[in-house]
């Protein structure tokens, strides 16, 4: 079946199988391997992408559902070589260890900041509650998001 969608700012058109998940389409067809599979059942958030600006688990979305939508993956977050301020703050605050959860975290946090540029700590937590990290202890991630919000507001 035909799927037409905007991927990281570019119009794309592909033929896919009905059973294929969005994560498979992104990873296997477009080679966008920044989208990680941590569980495959919507419980870890490693596969998070933005679909029409909202963070979704791409392991729970069928590729066909992406039709007519706008998808942004982690590869579409930086402007070329220049990191987004959120990405920069992830580095500064040591919010990154093994990095497996990082793309999903960055995307969930981006979605939040796009919709709510000045979130409270609780709102930050709610936004990334679906993203598991086994390495960091989350503190640094919350701090990185907070700082980004602060910078944008200023």
């Amino acid at each position: 079946m035909e799927v037409r969608f905007k991927l990281n700012g570019k119009e794309e058109e592909v033929t896919t199988e009905p059973y294929l998940r969005l994560i498979d389409l992104l990873r296997d067809y477009f080679n966008l391997t920044g989208t990680k599979e941590g569980c495959g059942v919507g419980e870890c958030g490693a596969c998070t992408v933005l679909m029409n600006g909202r963070a979704v688990n791409s392991c729970l979305v069928l590729a066909a559902q992406a039709n007519d939508s706008e998808i942004v993956t982690i590869e579409g977050i930086a402007e070329g070589e220049v990191l987004s301020s959120l990405q920069k703050n992830f580095l500064t605050y040591g919010a990154v260890q093994c990095g497996f959860c990082t793309p999903g975290m960055v995307l969930s946090a981006s979605a939040l900041l796009d919709q709510n540029p000045n979130p409270t700590e609780e709102e930050i937590k709610d936004a990334i509650a679906g993203n598991l990290c086994r390495c960091t202890g989350y503190k640094q991630i919350i701090e990185a998001v907070k700082e980004t919000a602060k910078e944008t507001i200023e």
Binding site: V96, Y138, I141
Partner: protein, 757 residues
């Protein structure tokens, strides 16, 4: 300073095994395993599986060209079960197909009949049946039997600590493909590339040089990929060899949770004797380690329980006995702390119990017994540069526990249904593999003619930041910009006979090797520089920030020019160095020696708030003073410590493994096995770096950081118990972790006691 890999991580550009562009024609594997905990295989029928589209091969024990053996310490573990299965999840066959879905489909079509045999899941029951992995291990100091009489108080009790699933976010993963000359290259998410290489060679009946293992990075390891990345890598290699095609084997999350090993559950008894004023005179403990169905690393983990049986205390009379009990569960394995946390939990339980009975705060007993310089551990080593008292006292001055206790008492006075509790936990952790020969590593450094530098070592990057630390060490040693330095993947053809990156020793061992290799290069470059500068004494040459100095004077010669000059003079720009930790030994016959290069110290105070109606709780704060030595990289060390603390709290509180009566793991998904999520994070984590404590035994005076902070999590357990006591002072508790909200609630209302049922 950021982690070297982290820029690519935030861009989604870093590659994990499953992200590597697979070679053309890559096939996919899926493991078929036992559904009974103990049984005879009566009939194994693959015929229906062969009808599945895309199926390429099914491999079981009889297809193994070499030995069907993967046990490292004890040869008691098959790659594939032969006629008997020993746990649910025991691999029986690997199915390989063109796609992952086809392989999975075929696995579902395999028929296997078992004749069930009696199974044992409880370590004490296993011990009673003499099902021990190794002979009991005993560490002792002084003479406990004589000491009990001189004690004013003697208390006995038991303590249980549960297992823990690693839940590395990247599941076990490997990709194997045939290479020229009948060899196999394996890309694996392993902490132990040589273990994979050696085991694959043994199973495939190939010499080790025909197996090349390459590791880029791991999406988390925590010990779970020290030994247990091996079977999957070897299975992929076997299929690749047999089918002459690339084979990828990635465990889906649920399978990974079901069939791979976890932290060992322990059941232990203790007896503690003290004087009236809280001095511990004697301590006796027996640990029943649930090893699961095969030895794996259990004997070494058992030993570390003994090494840490007295945590941060000097106790003159100790007898600690540890039994590794064979049960019919997945072979348990390494997990951050490696048996140490289990040992510490028992002594802290004993101290807590004694304090309760004596009517004092546990901190009174803790403080009375902290290690002093020169004190002897039960394994014969004496403390050197012992900072535990400094850490404990610094916690007192910085965080003021008295005031905290006061505040909590007032709060508890005012609030009926919400209670607070606090606990202090000192941690002393020995650094080195206690298996002495493992304390070695190597590094290979290339200087290229354009001035860029490549560093290879035995260290595996799994999020702990070892790559960045090695880069900093090399930049410092060569006195060049860090940007010139690239850390290569860990590859068995560049670093041979590696020890796993484990025991918090990655940076220590490999860092020293990198320093040594750089020193060799510096020596050569000095000579070249003195020739270039027409000087006679290379000793007068120095390098500072990429510039060559002679006799303290800046010269026009730079690092890049010098490298080119060396090349023209046909001087080798490659150096390899091997490092082994000096002066350590351990005699396992008498269980005495100096197994550790040094110890790391720290103390934390943990505060919790408990909702006594619902049993739910919140860790309010964890305030720490930790001895990092002289940190190489503050950001990395801090985030290692914070991550470790949260994982330790998880082990003690929410992470509960449950099996049914048949030995089937019930908590086999992220929705049933609860690791700390973002809401579980302590509201406040404060970590103070103990000042002026250079470590003479660490690279650039640093200390290892991977494991020790994990044990601060034990503080959360006792803080919770104290909050529970505030609600119900008559609570008679046994010590049993994890203290899940459910268990808290039942205990609060004396519905069921904490502890073994």
């Amino acid at each position: 300073m950021k982690n070297y890999d982290s820029i690519r991580h935030t861009r989604g550009e870093s590659l994990f095994v499953d992200d590597i562009a697979s070679p053309e024609g890559t096939l996919f594997g899926y493991v078929f395993y036992s559904s009974v905990a103990h049984g005879k295989i009566l009939n194994l029928d693959f015929s229906n599986a062969w009808y599945v589209d895309g199926i390429k091969g099914i491999f079981s024990a009889k297809d193994i060209p070499g030995e069907n053996q993967i046990g490292g310490i004890v040869r008691d573990e098959n790659l594939f079960a032969e006629d008997t299965v020993h746990f649910i999840g025991h691999p029986i066959a690997l199915v390989v197909a063109e796609t992952f879905l086809q392989a999975h489909e075929a696995v579902k079509k395999i028929k296997c009949e078992f004749e069930k045999l009696p199974a044992v899941f409880d370590p004490r029951e296993a011990a009673a049946k003499d099902q021990l992995i190794v002979k009991p291990r005993i560490f002792s100091l002084g003479n406990v039997d004589d000491a009990w009489n001189s004690c004013d108080y003697v208390f006995e009790g038991s303590a249980e600590s549960g297992g823990q699933e690693h839940l590395y976010l990247e599941t076990q993963a490997s990709l194997a493909f045939p290479i020229e000359g009948g060899g196999i290259k394996i890309i694996s998410s392993t902490q132990g590339p040589t273990t994979v290489q050696r085991t694959a060679a043994q199973v495939l009946a190939l010499p080790m040089h025909k197996i090349e293992v390459d590791v880029i990075r791991l999406g988390g390891g925590f010990g779970g990929k020290e030994d247990q990345a091996t079977p999957w890598a070897v299975m992929a290699a076997l299929a690749a060899l047999k089918l002459n095609a690339p084979v990828k084997l990635i465990l889906p999350r649920q399978e990974d949770i079901r069939i791979t090993g976890k932290r060992h559950p322990y059941s232990s008894d203790f007896k503690i004797g003290l004087t009236k004023d809280g001095k511990i005179i004697a301590y006796e403990a027996t640990y029943y380690q649930n090893a699961g169905a095969a030895a794996d690393l259990s004997p070494a983990i058992l030993d570390r329980t003994l090494f840490h049986c007295t945590n941060s205390y000097f106790i003159p009379n100790v007898k600690a006995t540890a039994l590794s009990c064979r049960t019919n569960l997945t072979p348990f394995t390494a997990f951050r702390g490696f048996g140490g946390p289990q040992g510490m939990f028992v002594i802290e339980s004993a101290i807590h119990k004694a304090a309760q009975k004596m009517g004092v705060d546990p901190s009174v007993i803790q403080k009375k017994n902290l290690l002093n310089e020169g004190d002897e551990f039960p394994y014969g080593q004496k403390t050197l540069n012992c900072h535990i008292k400094k850490c404990y006292e610094e916690v007192e001055t910085r965080y003021n526990p008295k005031e905290i206790y006061q505040r909590i008492a007032e709060f508890n006075e005012k609030n009926k249904l919400v209670k607070k509790g606090a606990a202090i936990i000192p941690v002393t952790f020995g650094i080195s593999f206690t298996t002495t020969f493992l304390n070695q590593a190597s590094a290979l450094v290339h200087l290229y003619t354009d001035g860029s530098v490549s560093v290879s070592s035995a260290a595996i990057e799994m999020g702990q930041g070892v790559n960045e630390k090695l880069r900093m060490i090399a930049a410092n040693e060569l006195s060049i910009s860090i940007e010139r330095i690239k850390i290569e993947s860990t590859n068995t053809s560049r670093a041979s006979n590696t020890s796993a990156t484990a025991a918090s020793k990655g940076t220590d061992l490999n860092g020293f090797a990198v320093i040594d290799a750089c020193k060799i290069l510096i020596e050569r470059l000095r000579k070249v520089a003195s020739e270039e500068l027409k000087q006679t004494n290379p000793e007068k040459i120095e390098f500072k920030n990429e510039i060559v100095f002679h006799a303290g004077e800046k010269t026009g010669l730079t690092f890049s020019k010098l490298v080119k000059a060396a090349y023209s003079k046909r001087i080798s720009l490659t150096a390899q160095a091997h490092h082994s930790t000096p002066n350590i030994y351990f005699d396992t016959k008498v269980n005495k020696g100096e197994p550790f290069a040094y110890h790391t110290y720290g103390t934390a105070i943990v505060e919790v708030t408990l909702d006594c109606l619902r049993g739910i709780y919140k860790v309010d704060s964890v305030k720490v003073v930790h001895d990092f030595g002289e940190t190489i990289n503050r950001t990395i060390d801090l985030s290692q410590a914070e991550g470790g603390i949260v994982q330790g709290i998880g082990w003690m509180t929410c992470e509960e493994l449950k099996w049914n009566n048949e030995g089937k793991l019930l908590t086999d998904s992220l929705s049933t096995y609860k690791v700390p999520d973002i809401y579980a994070v302590p509201k406040e984590i404060k970590i103070h770096f103990l000042e002026n404590v250079p470590n003479p035994f660490g690279p650039n005076k640093s200390k290892a950081i991977g494991e020790p902070p994990f044990m601060y999590g034990i503080g959360a357990y006792f803080a919770l118990v104290n909050a529970m006591k505030a609600f119900n002072p008559n609570l008679d508790l046994n010590y049993s972790a994890p203290l899940t909200p459910e268990k808290v609630l039942l205990t609060l209302y004396n519905k069921r006691q904490i502890g073994r049922e």
